[in-house]
Every structure is written in C-alpha cells, then in structure tokens.
Amino acid sequence: MLELAGVTKRFGGVAALSDLSLQVPEGEILGLIGPNGAGKTTLLNCISGVNRPDAGSITFQGRPIDGLPPHQIARLGIGRTFQVVKPFASMTVRENAAVGGLFGSAQAHLAPKAAFAWADEVLETVGLAPKAGLTVGSLTIPDRKRLEVARALATKPRLLLLDEVMAGLNPVEVDEALEVVRKVHAGGITIVLIEHVMRVVVGVCDRVIVLHMGQRLAEGTPDEVLQDRRVIEAYLGEKYAARRHA
C-alpha cells in the first residue's frame, strides 16, 4: 500500500533520514520505534507531505506522492496526528472533528451537516462524545490526544499515521487507547504508529521497524526486535532487557 525507496531528508548538514526504504502492506499495523532524533517523526512528515524528501520516492497505492502538498496527500487517504497536538483552539471538540470530515480524503469531503453527524460518530469511537460541546481549552492532555486521533479519523483515511498518541497516558488510558487503535484497524484502516510505550508496540503491532540515526537498525515481529542486541544497546537499554527476561 505504501512504499518508500531510498528516502533521504537533510536538515542543514544533518541527515534525519538517509536512504531509507520500507513497505507497508495493506491491513498491517506497523510500529516505528527508536531513540529521540532517530527520524521517526521526519518519516511521518515526509509521508504526509509536511516535509519534502531530498531524495528517494514515496508511492501510495501505486501513485507517487513525494512532493505533493499535504492537502492532496490527505485527499488520497492518508491521515495523521501530531506528537505535539495542534488543535483548533477556538473551536469546539465537535467542530475540530468536523473539519476532518469537511475536508479529508475523497471519501470524506462531506457537506457541513453530514460532516457534523460524522464527527459525532468519530467522537463516539474515541470516547470523546460527552465532551463534544466543549472548547479545546478545557480538555485534559489525554483528551487532546484523543481529539487529535478523532480529527485524523474523521478524514476517512485508508492509512493512518499516529505519532506518539499514547505518550503521557496512564496505564488505564493506554488500555483505552489500544482499544481505539484495534477498533480503527478492524474498520479496515492500515496503521503506522510511533511509540515509546513498549506495551503498545507489543500489544498491537504486526511488525516493528527500529530507526536509529535515520536508518533501519532492525526489523521484525515485536518479540524479535525487542530481543535484538543492537536494539537493546541503541535504544532499550540493558535494564529493560533484564526486566523483560526476569
């Protein structure tokens, strides 16, 4: 469904991504992990059109999308969230989600009335329905993360890119969020997610790619990757490995 070939992105002299290639088959949940600065968010930025890769190609459902502006990529069916949430502060929760339905993918692009009805459905899915009428300012951090997901879902994407939507959530909230991810996936949406919470990675990912300094350090099922010596050295640390085996 999604294919990256030789993607490179430099910021000044630093290569955030260097010659990275990967594929995401339809229906998969792919996890991206790795230390801070590994290039995970840059990768999502390149896919969603926020950043333009310096080299390489990105194709989505057989169509080259690198170099397209973000709104055209959204139109093709790629939705994303931001690690640092970017809500529309003056709007209500419901209006925020409705914007996703008013624009979004070719399947979305609803008229205002339909977009608001669809927004209510999406808010129900992520558990924000009771707060639909509130302005964003009165939401807690976990709720803002939920809203970020709701807005991306409202675009009716084929592929959903989630950037650390579970960071800062307590264990109960993580479980709820996992449930949402499973529900979304069951609805036929392919998912690529960045996570530092290993319980999430193990809990939902079919496959994991470990990024380190803009390159692929390891790849495999969650269990394989978490036992990989290089991954433990570069990212997880010996303490984590010891705890896991204990």
């Binding site: 709104h71 529309f88 003056s90 009165s138 807005r151 675009t155």
Partner: protein, 354 residues
C-alpha cells in the same frame, strides 16, 4: 476557558434584553436607511440650485455624508475581517484595493467616458485580480512579515499609480459629477456594507469558512486534514479585496475627484483593522459595531480646537484599554457565554498580558 463548562442557555431576562437590543437595532437601521431619502430631497417648490437651498439642507446633506462614510467603513472593516479576522492574516495594505477600485472607476469614467453604472462592476474585479496576483507570494509569509509586506504593497501601489500619466498623474482623475445623488451614494455604500456582512455570514456557515478558521488556528494541522491552504488564503484575500475595491469605486464617483492621497490613505489600513478588532475580529457583527462606533467617534472628534485634542487623547486611551480588557471585541458580550463582569476583565487581562 472554564466559562464554556457552564450552562450557555441565556436566562429569560437575558433573552428579553437581547430581544430588546435587536428591536432597537432594527429600528435604528430603518431610520438610518430612510433618512437620506427625506433629507436630500429638496422641497418641490424650492429652487434646485444648492446655493440657495439654505442652511437646513446643507446640514441635512452633511448628515447623509456622515452616514455614507460610516457605511463605507462598515464595508471596509467587514471585508478586512474575512482575511484578518477569519483567516488570521493581518493584512495591513487593504487600502491598495480601495485605491485600485477608485482608480478603476475614475479612469473608466473620466478618461474612457464610460458610465458609472458600467464602470463600477469592474472595480471589485480589478481589485480581486490584483489580490490574487500578490496573494500568491505574500500569503506564504506569516505574522509580522505578512503585515509589513502588505503595508509596503499598499503604499507602493499608490506611488506607482501617481506616476502613470494615463491615470491623471499628480493631478488625479475627475469622474463627471452626478448632481443630487447623495442618497444614491449612501444606498450604494450601505448595500456594499450589507453585502460584506452577507458574504461573511455565508462564509461562516460553509466549508470555506471552516477551512479559513482552521488555517487561522493551525495552518499545518489544517493542511494535513485536507485544506488547500494556498487556495483558501488567496480566495479569502481576493474576496476581501473585491468588497474593498467596490467601496473604492463608489467613493471615486461620490467624491468626483480622486488622487493618490485621497484614495490610498495609509490611516485607513489602521482604522479598518481597529474597527474589526474592537468590535470583535472573526465575528459576524463585530466589525459592523466597531466601524459604526469608531467612525462616529472619529467624525465627532474631528471638529478641531483644544477640546478635540483632549477628546482624541481620550480616544487613544479608550482604544488601548479596549484591546487589553476586551480582546475578543465588544460583541463578545452578546455571544451567549460571556457576561459583563469583573471576572471577564480579569480573564481577558490574563489572556492579553505576557
């Protein structure tokens, strides 16, 4: 913003007050709209030469003139609101569109001998086309940079036009005078103001409007949700330019003389922004309320003498206080969730101070 958590259902007394305000407002609108007809019609038996019509008629004409000016600023402020208030791009050079509209009508009526009725529709078209042209590069800039670039453009356009002989050069243009048309110009300006409000109302309910507000709140988020930010920003800019250019076109014929100084006044840029912000930027009626209140004050204080100096200082203080304590504009009080209270001012102060 904890006030959103409270009930926003207005009390019965609140509804009654609001209904009363609405009735008073509608009556006022009706009076203002009918007044020019009665005031500028000389009595049937009177000599039609304005020189001999007497002092009453002159005063009446000046009332209509004031109303026309206020209607013009309602149009300018409401038009600015589309790009500055809804989209969040602080355009500081909208006077360029006003001047272009004025020069379109001036050039076509004076040099090409076209009738005013045929020339006027081209004023908004020319202004919007120009906005589309400069909008593409300028709307890539954000914040201060956009403000300064538009301010510079506004000044540059006036200077360029002043130096083109076909547009009258330094002497300006003279659209043929339409006699006894004071009421006509008032109604044209009022229609332009009404059109600006109608357009805003339509935009606020549409996909286009949600896209603009999304751009204002977070442009990057808007773009990944599928908003074509470039097209939307240029569209809002061109729409604002068209409404502003229309006002300029009416103004040109109304004043029957235009030059660079009279139709590219830099202070209009500031005035229309102040009006929109004082009334409530991004709201439907904010710019209307702000334009009426502020332009009325400005005209009232323009008398001259020592007292008018003090009055102007007072106006400055009033502006500063309003921006600090009522940052969302005075119409915020009628929005439902906010009420005039000490707590409101305290919250506002927290919002506006570092």
């Amino acid at each position: 913003m904890s006030e959103a958590a409270f009930s926003t259902q207005p009390s019965r007394a609140g509804r009654r007050v609001r209904r009363l305000i609405l009735v008073v407002f509608l009556v006022a609108v009706a009076v203002v709209l009918v007044l020019p007809l009665t005031l500028t019609q000389p009595a049937a038996d009177a000599n039609l030469d304005p020189e001999t019509l007497g002092i009453d008629f002159a005063i009446n004409k000046s009332i209509v003139r004031t109303e026309t000016t206020i209607a013009m600023f309602v149009a300018l402020a409401a038009a600015w609101n589309l790009i500055g208030g809804l989209t969040g791009y602080a355009a500081f050079g909208n006077v360029a569109f006003f001047g272009l509209g004025a020069y379109t009508v001036g050039f076509l009526t004076d040099k090409q001998h076209l009738s005013f009725a045929l020339a006027l529709p081209l004023a908004p078209v020319g202004a919007a086309a120009f906005a589309g042209l400069i909008g593409l590069p300028l709307l890539r800039l954000r914040g201060h940079y956009f403000a300064i670039a538009t301010l510079g453009t506004g000044i540059a356009v006036g200077e360029v036009i002043k130096n083109i002989d076909a547009f009258g050069g330094g002497t300006g243009l003279f659209p043929p005078i339409l006699r006894h048309a004071d009421a006509l110009f008032f109604y044209l300006m009022a229609a332009n103001a009404g059109l600006a409000v109608l357009v805003t109302w339509l935009v606020l309910r549409s996909r286009f409007g949600y896209g603009l507000i999304a751009i204002r709140e977070n442009e990057e988020a808007a773009s990944v949700l599928g908003v074509n930010t470039t097209a939307y920003k240029v569209g809002a800019f061109a729409l604002a330019a068209a409404l502003t250019g229309l006002a300029g076109g009416i103004f040109a014929q109304w004043s029957s003389f235009i030059d660079q100084e009279s139709v590219f006044p830099v202070q209009y840029n500031v005035q229309m922004i102040l009006m929109a912000i004082l009334g409530g930027a991004g709201t439907l009626f904010g710019p209307v309320a702000g334009a009426i209140a502020l332009e009325w004050l400005i005209l009232a204080l323009a008398g001259g003498g020592t007292s008018s100096v003090y009055a102007q200082i007072g106006l400055g203080v009033l502006l500063a206080v309003t921006v600090i304590f009522v940052p969302r504009g005075v119409v915020d009080f009628f929005g439902g969730s906010s009420r005039l209270s000490l707590g409101y001012f305290r919250r506002s102060l927290r919002e506006t101070s570092v």
